[in-house]
Symmetry: C2
Subunit: 385 residues, 2 copies
């Protein structure tokens, strides 16, 4: 007997990051720099807020838009960053950035619809398009020795009659690319004119090293513009395991996202949302400290990796990845797999981030300096010869 499931679901790809981590996890002594996750647990002041909420009996269903004080705190937080108001009705709390993204795709994508995706990019966004029966149209970032850049003409030319949305992850995972405000304005103008949506994955908005926050579509878009911004507590507040995020959307989509939350998960855990209030409200010193730490790690990695003979690497402007080209490497998955045994270092293969990522490896530098130093020492024999 067959067990018929949908073709696009049968064709979903396992992340090729996991192809490496699944092999490496059972191995002794591998330094894991494969995931987009640091090695520091959530700070105590956030944990304490969750524990207090549990003690207070916050174990019941929440409103589908989110715990009202969290919606307000996120509105105030974004107003601080972007100098625009984000009233109730513009923000819906989600159970992670991932959860925000699948709901955005549910609202917009169906068979016959395409989403233009700027690459290289973390793999999950494209699979959400496939789950909804849509098609991905790839646009590659160009690169030179100074880093990655987006050719707007290429982006606009890629949009065809089937295109309903443009997906842009900036600051970018894995590239560390940060889109400039004038390019965001041009894309917004184009989207307005063509009736397209912009899905902006802004999860790394705070992980920037030369300014307080990355340029955001939220600085430019009015409350009725076709912009959906996806964000998360995972990176800036080291809350990966909490599954808490939010989506900022036009006021007209408030009811839509309220219903989609109800029918997808009925909201993140109640006490988790209460901890989120404290993270947003009291977390700035922690975020500042985290960025200072990552900046030192970035500089170490760029300096040492960049000096290795086979490596070409520009200094990432944002996020916490070194995404570097390796001369002569044809198969990044095989290479990353080899590194597990030869160097005992776990990296993500560039091919995981789209065809344009082949030839590269991704190293997450959200780790302690001794750990990074040891990893770089171990990578030397493979990369510096």
């Amino acid at each position: 007997m067959t067990l018929p499931i949908r073709d696009p679901i049968a064709a979903l790809q396992f992340s090729r990051i996991r192809a490496v981590s699944r092999l490496g996890m059972p191995m002794q002594g591998v330094i894991p720099l494969w995931f987009g996750e640091g090695d520091v647990p959530t700070p105590a002041f956030i944990n304490d807020a969750a524990k207090k909420a549990l003690d207070d009996g916050a174990t019941f269903y929440e409103a589908n838009m989110g715990h009202a004080p969290l919606v307000e705190a996120l509105g105030a937080y974004q107003e601080r960053l972007y100098k625009r108001p984000f009233p109730r009705g513009r923000i819906t709390v989600t159970a992670s950035g991932m959860n925000a993204l699948i709901m955005a795709m549910q609202a917009l994508v169906e068979p016959g619809v395409s989403v233009v995706v700027v690459n290289p990019v973390w793999p999950n966004c494209r699979e959400t398009v496939h789950i909804m029966g849509g098609r991905v149209i790839d646009v590659e970032l160009d690169r030179d020795e100074t880093g990655f850049r987006l050719d707007l003409d290429k982006l606009f030319d890629a949009c065809d009659a089937t295109t309903r949305a443009i997906f842009i992850n900036s600051p970018g995972n894995p590239t560390g690319w940060m889109m400039k405000s004038d390019q965001q304005q041009a894309v917004l103008d184009f989207a307005r004119q063509r009736g397209l949506w912009i899905i902006a994955d802004e999860v790394y908005a705070r992980l920037v090293y030369d300014r307080p926050v990355a340029p955001s579509f939220l600085e430019l878009a009015g409350p009725d513009d076709p912009v959906v911004s996806v964000n998360s507590f995972s990176k800036a507040w080291t809350m990966t395991g909490w599954r808490l995020g939010w989506i900022t959307h036009p006021a007209a989509l408030s009811d839509t996202f309220e219903k989609l939350v109800e029918f997808n998960i009925s909201g993140p855990a109640s006490f988790v949302q209460r901890a989120g209030v404290v993270a947003v409200r009291d977390g700035e010193p922690f975020v500042a400290e985290l960025i200072a730490r990552y900046r030192v790690a970035r500089d170490l990695v760029v300096q040492r990796l960049g000096a290795m003979r086979r490596v070409r690497l520009a200094r990432p402007e944002a996020a916490f990845y070194a995404f570097f080209a390796v001369d002569g490497m044809k198969d990044s998955l095989a290479f990353a797999t080899d590194l597990l045994t030869t160097a005992k270092v776990g990296l993500a293969p560039g091919v995981a981030f789209g065809k344009g990522g082949e030839g590269h490896l991704r190293l997450c530098f959200a780790a302690s300096l001794p750990k990074l130093t040891e990893a770089l020492d171990r990578l030397g024999p493979a990369l510096d010869r």
Copy 2:
């Protein structure tokens, strides 16, 4: 400028339970019996496990199938209940029963596909079909003075060439109907023969009053049968606000659900899953106590409501709802709305559960006896005249 979203998303229905609760929540002194949620917070031994997990630094990403000890604990739990093994690869941890359900629909439903849904039923399942572009075919339970019953011929006749799955919620919300094992066997035989899936929503499996557990498709189905069972921690362990559930599926779908978890939410919160281990492993005395409490509540409500002149009500065999017909009530939404001001009691309108639910109201009896007594006193003038 228009903001184009998909037609099926624009057409999603707000729950008509929420239509009442939204009005009633700001009102002073309303006794809320509208949601499927008791008024007792999660017990301390489960909260403590979450707090300990936070102290232990369980704040990182989890495996997409779920925290391994939780997958094992759920397998052992179901083996205890259903006398069959549920090895790793048959169970995926989800962020609520709701989350399990949308993922099941993602795997199975697309435009051109229908799901046969046994009604009356909680509204969310049908909307998950709509989100995926599918069509719902309704089959109504029959009812007489002894309760609800399923006509198998009607069910089988409703399945047409577009049908990919049969959705059955037993024990049923709102009806308290409990499907018998011989009917489950007949539906399983039919599904095997026709190559259809059974999506069994078994969230109320433990809330039964005359036996240890409700009959389950999991007692009958082998590891390769087309059965997907959706379950949740919400009801049996009073963990509604935690968003933790699981899905039991054929071994062949293990990779599929692992990927769907990754692309939907990347798993429930890490420390929440650790608390789930403790709930499943140590929770039996609590579950027994809870059922004893609900049994007394059920008997009170059935005796008092059933004696009211306008009410027709059979004793529910399971779950925690009285779903009762009201003589002469044409519009359950209007009636439930009126009850907010006239009786200060919040009930769910029957129409929220499908056309066949019109003429009924749903009262959740997972409340303290004084609260239920007061609510029943207040309902008298409207229902006992």
